[in-house]
C-alpha cells in the first residue's frame, strides 16, 4: 500500500531559492484608523449595534460579519486571559477593560510570574508607527485602576496602506532526475534529458513520467547546446526582480535532440533588427558562462543567433 519513488540518491546539496517580495497592504478603515492612532498612543476599538465593543478596531464582527456603528477609544488596561511561550517570547490574550473580546499580544514578563486574571497595561514603544508593535506589549499592573471605554472623538485619517515584506527561503531537493541533469551540466558541460515514450527525443527537464502518455520515460540522452527558437518576444520593460537589463529577447528554445522548450534569453543591440532576425525557427547556440560551472541553469549565460 505504501509506495516509495525509486530514488537514486545523488550527493548534491539542496537548491536554494528565495522568494522575497515587498508589499503595501491596505488595512481598511478600522485597522487603518487603529494603526494611524498608535502615534497618539490611543487604542481604537469598534462599537457594534448590539453594544459589543472590540479592541483593536475591526471592520466586521467576528461573530456574524456585522459592521460597527462607531469607533471608541479603549482603555490601556485590562486582564490577562491566557498565555503561552513560543521561542522564548511570551504571548498572551488580553481583554481590555470594558471590551468584549480578547486579542493576542506580547506579554512583558516571565512566564513563571503569570496567572490568568492578572491585571495588565499597555507599554508603548517609542519610534514605532503604523504598526500594532507600537505597543511593545502588556506588562503586569496589579494596581492599575479599571479603565473605561470612551468615545473616540476625532480620529486620524485611516492609513491607506502599510509596508510589509514576505521573505520565504527554500531548500529544494534535486531528486534523481534534476540531480543527474545538473550533475551532467556541472561535470561534463552537457545538457541531458530522458527519452519520451517510444521516441528518440528527450524531455527536458527530465522526469520519471511522460507528461502526455503518462508512461515511464526512457533512457538518458544528450542534447546539443544548439537549438531552434519556438517562441520569442522582445522585453522592453523593467520590473521588480528582473535579472537582465532590457531590451533583450525572451526565448523558448528547443535544443537539438529535445522535445520540450527551455526558457532563456538572447542579448540584442538593436530592437528593429532583432524583430527581423530573431523569430520562431531561428537557430541559436548556448554561450556558456566562463569559469567553473555550478551545476545550474545559470551555467548557460545566454543564447546567441547562429549566423548561417
Amino acid at each position: 500500500m505504501y509506495s516509495a519513488p525509486e530514488t537514486m540518491p545523488i550527493e548534491l546539496p539542496t537548491f536554494h531559492a528565495d522568494i522575497s517580495l515587498p508589499y503595501t497592504l491596505t488595512p481598511g478603515r478600522a485597522a487603518g484608523t487603529f494603526l494611524a492612532e498608535v502615534k497618539n498612543k490611543r487604542i481604537i476599538g469598534s462599537r457594534f449595534a448590539s453594544g459589543m465593543v472590540v479592541a483593536p478596531a475591526e471592520d466586521f464582527s467576528s461573530v456574524d460579519g456585522e459592521e460597527p456603528e462607531s469607533f471608541v477609544e479603549a482603555p490601556q488596561t485590562g486582564v490577562l486571559t491566557a498565555f503561552t511561550r513560543v521561542d522564548g517570547e511570551v504571548i498572551g490574550f488580553i481583554k481590555l477593560d470594558g471590551c468584549d473580546n480578547e486579542f493576542p499580544h506580547k506579554i512583558l514578563a516571565d512566564l513563571s510570574d503569570l496567572a490568568v486574571g492578572q491585571r495588565v497595561e499597555a507599554e508603548w514603544q517609542d519610534g514605532v508607527e503604523e504598526s500594532i508593535t507600537a505597543i511593545k506589549g502588556f506588562r503586569l499592573a496589579p494596581d492599575a485602576p479599571e479603565g473605561a471605554v470612551k468615545p473616540a472623538g476625532e480620529t486620524e485619517e485611516p492609513l491607506g496602506s502599510i509596508k510589509y515584506a514576505l521573505s520565504l527561503p527554500y531548500e529544494h531537493a534535486y531528486g534523481p532526475y534534476y540531480g543527474r541533469m545538473f550533475d551532467e551540466i556541472r561535470e561534463n558541460g552537457r545538457v541531458m534529458g530522458v527519452r519520451c515514450t517510444n521516441a528518440d527525443v528527450a524531455l527536458l527537464p527530465p522526469r520519471e513520467i511522460d507528461d502526455i502518455s503518462h508512461k515511464k520515460t526512457g533512457t538518458w540522452k544528450t542534447c546539443a547546446d544548439t537549438g531552434t527558437i519556438r517562441g520569442c518576444s522582445i522585453i522592453n520593460m523593467e520590473f521588480v526582480g528582473q535579472t537582465r537589463e532590457p531590451p533583450y529577447v525572451y526565448a523558448e528554445i528547443v535544443l537539438d535532440g529535445a522535445s520540450t522548450r527551455l526558457i532563456h534569453m538572447i542579448e540584442i543591440d538593436d530592437v528593429e533588427d532583432a524583430k527581423k532576425r530573431i523569430k520562431p525557427g531561428t537557430r541559436v547556440r548556448a554561450i556558456w558562462t566562463e569559469g567553473e560551472r555550478k551545476g545550474s541553469m545559470s551555467d548557460i549565460e545566454r543564447f546567441e543567433v547562429i549566423d548561417e
Binding site: 539542496t14 497592504l25 513560543v86 520565504l168 534535486y174 534523481p176
Partner: protein, 372 residues
C-alpha cells in the same frame, strides 16, 4: 432526483518521512499516481478528472499545480487545485461524481514541508495587521488551547505524553511512517518547549509525502472489483479567523462539520467502528474526539484510548502530519482498516469517520462518513 453514490476504488500513499531529501514533489506525485491504479483494473485513461491539493507557500512556487500536471496524469483532462487539505479535494470530487457529470476521479494531495520553513506556512495564514506582527501563529494557538483545556479538565501533562507515545507506537506498528526512535512518554514530557505548556513532541510532526485516491460512482466502483468504500456523508465548517475570537473550550466548527456529515449518512461517529482524526496537538486530538461526539466536552481522554470506536489506529497526525495531505491520508488509512479490519485488531468494521483540518488552531474542518 437520484444523485449517484460515490465510492473509493483504490488508494496509494508514499511513506511519510521528515524529509524526502532525494525526491522532488513531482517524484512523490508520480509515485502515487502510478501505483494507485495497481490492481484496480483501471488506467489513467479511465480517469475523467483530477483534483489536487498542495500549497504554493510550501512548494515555493505560484500556481504550483501547473508544474505537476503531467505527473498528476491531468494532461487534457479537467483539473482543479483545491488549496486546502486533500480531504476538501476529495469533497469536490465526490460532488462532481454525484452530479453524474463524471464517473472516475483522481484525487491527489502532496507536500514537502522539509523544503521550506514551516513557521512561514503558518504565520502567512494569520491576518497581517494585528496578529501576525506580534508573532501569534499556530504554535501560540496550540499553547493557549492547551493551557485552557488543562485548567478546565482532569487531564495532566502525563496524560498528554502517554497519548503522544501511544500514537507514535501505533504509527510504527501500522507502518508507512519513518520513525527513527520511538519516544517514550517521558521523552515526550522532557522534549524542548513547543509552546508552553506543550512540549515540541506534543505538536504534530510535519512530514513529506503524497497520497492518491481513486473515486468512482458506485456502479463503476463495483465493476472495478473489490467492494468499494462508499462515502455516505460529508460535512465542512469554518470557524472565526482569529483564534482569540473562538470558543477555545471546544472545536465548534468540527462539531458542525460532523453533524452535517452524520445528517446525510444517518449515523454519527459514535456509531462508527473506526475514527481517524487530524489534530495539530495532543490536546486538539482530545478536543476533536469530543467534537465528533465520542466523549463529552473535556472527557476525550478515555475515548482516545479506543474501545467501542477504534481511534487513530494509524497513529493519526501527531507522529505524521504531511500538511495539505493529512486529512486525505486519514481517509486512506480508514479505507485500509475497513478492508482489513483483522490486521488492526478489529473483529469487523463497516463504518468509519475521517477528519481533516485547515488553518490556525484547526479553524476549518471537514468530515467524511465511510461505509462498506
Amino acid at each position: 432526483m437520484a444523485l449517484k453514490k460515490v465510492g473509493v476504488i483504490a488508494t496509494a500513499q508514499t511513506e511519510l518521512r521528515p524529509a524526502w531529501s532525494d525526491a522532488q514533489h513531482i517524484d512523490l506525485i508520480s509515485s502515487v499516481v502510478t501505483s494507485v491504479f495497481k490492481g484496480s483494473g483501471l488506467t489513467i485513461d479511465d480517469v475523467d478528472f483530477v483534483i489536487d491539493s498542495g500549497s504554493d507557500v510550501l512548494d515555493g512556487r505560484s500556481i504550483s499545480n501547473c508544474g505537476f500536471l503531467g505527473a498528476l496524469g491531468a494532461h487534457h483532462k479537467e483539473e482543479a487545485r483545491v488549496e486546502e487539505d486533500g480531504i476538501w479535494a476529495a469533497h469536490y470530487g465526490v460532488n462532481k461524481i454525484a452530479s453524474g457529470a463524471a464517473s472516475v476521479g483522481l484525487i491527489v494531495a502532496y507536500s514537502k514541508p522539509s523544503e521550506s520553513q514551516v513557521a512561514n506556512y503558518w504565520s502567512s495564514q494569520v491576518e497581517p495587521f494585528y496578529q501576525r506582527p506580534v508573532g501569534f501563529s499556530q504554535r501560540a494557538a496550540g499553547g493557549i488551547q492547551a493551557q485552557r483545556y488543562l485548567a478546565a479538565n482532569d487531564v495532566s501533562m502525563e496524560d498528554l505524553a502517554n497519548l503522544v507515545a501511544a500514537r507514535w507506537a501505533a504509527a510504527q506498528e501500522n507502518g508507512g511512517v519513518q520513525i527513527d526512535k520511538l519516544p517514550s512518554a517521558s521523552d515526550v514530557l522532557s522534549a524542548a518547549e513547543g509552546a508552553a505548556p506543550l512540549t515540541d513532541l506534543m505538536f504534530s510532526r510535519p512530514m513529506d509525502g503524497a497520497v492518491a485516491v481513486l473515486l468512482a460512482d458506485e456502479a463503476t466502483a463495483r465493476r472495478a472489483g473489490a467492494d468499494p468504500v462508499l462515502i455516505t456523508g460529508m460535512g465542512s465548517s469554518a470557524d472565526a479567523h482569529a483564534f482569540a475570537d473562538r470558543d477555545n473550550s471546544r472545536l465548534n466548527s468540527l462539531s458542525l462539520a460532523a453533524e452535517r456529515a452524520a445528517a446525510s449518512a444517518g449515523w454519527s461517529a459514535a456509531e462508527a467502528d473506526i475514527v481517524e482524526v487530524s489534530a495539530s496537538t495532543a490536546v486538539a486530538e482530545l478536543m476533536a474526539l469530543e467534537a465528533l461526539g465520542l466523549a463529552k466536552p473535556g472527557q476525550g481522554k478515555a475515548a482516545a484510548q479506543g474501545g467501542k470506536v477504534a481511534v487513530n489506529n494509524s497513529g493519526g497526525a501527531l507522529p505524521a502530519d504531511p500538511l495539505m495531505v493529512t486529512g486525505l491520508a486519514r481517509l486512506v488509512e480508514a479505507v485500509r482498516q475497513l478492508r482489513q479490519p483483522k490486521r488492526y485488531g478489529l473483529s469487523s468494521a463497516s463504518r468509519a469517520v475521517v477528519h481533516g483540518a485547515n488553518g490556525i488552531g484547526m479553524q476549518s474542518n471537514c468530515v467524511f462518513n465511510l461505509e462498506v
